[in-house]
């Protein structure tokens, strides 16, 4: 699936990219809001440098798009392609998780 490849080749930015996509899936957010949101739902702190490296990559791949800036802040929105990519990514993780649960039934409780 092409969208898998879009996010799969991000290397060390793959994980923060996924978190950013998840954060944007609940609506457009600007940089600071993404960082707070990610910190609140996953406990992961994304530094500003990492965040913008990820935003640039996602934007380049067409998975997110910038909106009109509001004062000095610019919100980003998930594109349809980004939503599809996130969906495919989550399905893949889900599949992996179920496979893991089958192998480790003791931990399922």
């Amino acid at each position: 699936m092409p969208n898998d490849q879009l996010i799969g080749d991000l290397g060390r930015f793959a994980e923060p990219a996924l978190l950013v996509l998840v954060s944007l899936s609940s609506g457009p957010k600007h940089g600071y809001a993404i960082m707070s949101d990610v910190a609140s739902f996953s406990g992961t702190r994304i530094g500003p440098g990492t965040l913008y490296a990820v935003l640039a990559r996602l934007e380049q791949r067409g998975l997110i798009e910038p909106l009109e800036a509001n004062e000095r802040r610019r919100p980003y929105r998930l594109t349809d392609g980004g939503a599809a990519s996130l969906d495919a990514q989550l399905r893949e993780m889900d599949r992996l998780m179920r496979a893991a649960r089958l192998r480790l039934p003791d931990l399922s409780g």
């Binding site: 940089g31 600071y32 500003p48 913008y52 490296a53 640039a56 909106l67 800036a69």
Partner: protein
């Protein structure tokens, strides 16, 4: 006190991003680091991000996004200049001229350095392949005897390319003592090569004189025995200098004029290796 990096430090980190990147994201990043209390870890993250942005310049934002950018507060040099992306030709030309001059200066310096380096290395390269200063083949002993039969009875064989006398030592000693002996097949260690350059001031030492069997330099009268040792007369401070000599596998006598042994210092008649039949102070009649 230093729990958080100071604002100028953070601005510096943001400035480490490439220009095109700053045009696109600079305002956002600035506002982000103002909104949020920036930690040292965040600063480090910013610096890493700047490295990343410079490494992946293809990530620099595309011109198509110019439309949604906010107007810049700083006036842009050319009215036609977009905030980033494709540059109009005029500023590019100015930049290119400056870059071109700088590059030419660099290239010129590099060229001069290269020439200097090359010249220095070439200076150290050995220039001498043959002739005086290198190895000189004289010929086999048979060749030498064919050209000069009395070499067997001790007469020095002059080899002009080497500017040297080849001496058949045992025969020469006998000759100088007045007891001529033929040594028709001397070995390499029975050979001696005397450089015909007088160690005094460099005049060419003439042939052996017939009566004394000595060499006397015509310039200042320095006199040497048949083995080139300095005798009493003349200003030279030492005996004649010697070249290394060997006989190769083909029986050819080879003079190595790059290996020079300075003649022994003059220290009186008792220190001579060889004493001939004549007085210490006898001089060839020139």
């Amino acid at each position: 006190m230093f729990a958080q990096p100071s604002a100028p430090l953070v601005r510096l980190a943001v400035r480490a991003y490439p220009r095109a990147w700053r045009r696109r994201y600079g305002v956002e990043i600035q506002s982000l680091v103002v909104d949020r209390q920036v930690s040292w870890a965040d600063l480090f993250d910013l610096v890493l991000g700047a490295f990343d942005a410079r490494l992946h310049s293809q990530l620099a934002p595309r011109p198509a996004l110019a439309a949604i950018l906010p107007a810049r507060s700083v006036p842009v040099p050319s009215p036609a200049l977009p905030a980033y992306g494709a540059m109009p030709s005029a500023p590019v030309a100015v930049q290119t001229r400056r870059a071109f001059l700088r590059r030419m200066l660099g290239a010129g310096i590099a060229l001069v350095s290269l020439e200097f380096l090359g010249g220095s290395l070439a200076f150290f390269w050995p220039q001498i392949r043959g002739g005086l200063g290198g190895k000189i083949a004289v010929g086999t002993i048979a060749d030498i005897l064919a050209r000069q039969p009395d070499f067997a009875t001790g007469w020095p064989y002059s080899h002009p390319p080497a500017r040297a006398f080849l001496i058949n030592v045992p025969a020469a000693e006998a000759l100088a003592l007045g007891l001529p002996t033929s040594v028709p097949n001397p070995t390499a260690d029975q050979l001696l090569v005397l450089w015909r350059k007088c160690p005094h001031l460099g005049c060419q030492v003439p042939e052996l004189c017939d009566d004394l069997k000595r060499f006397t330099c015509r310039c200042h009268g320095s006199t040497y025995n048949i083995l080139g040792e300095k005798l009493k007369n003349g200003p030279a401070a030492r005996g004649m200098d010697r070249f290394a000599v060997s006989i190769n596998a083909d029986g050819v006598v080879v003079i190595d004029s790059s290996q020079i042994t300075a003649g022994a210092l003059e220290r009186g008649p008792d220190h001579l290796v060889f004493t001939d039949a004549h007085p210490w102070d006898a001089v060839c009649p020139y």
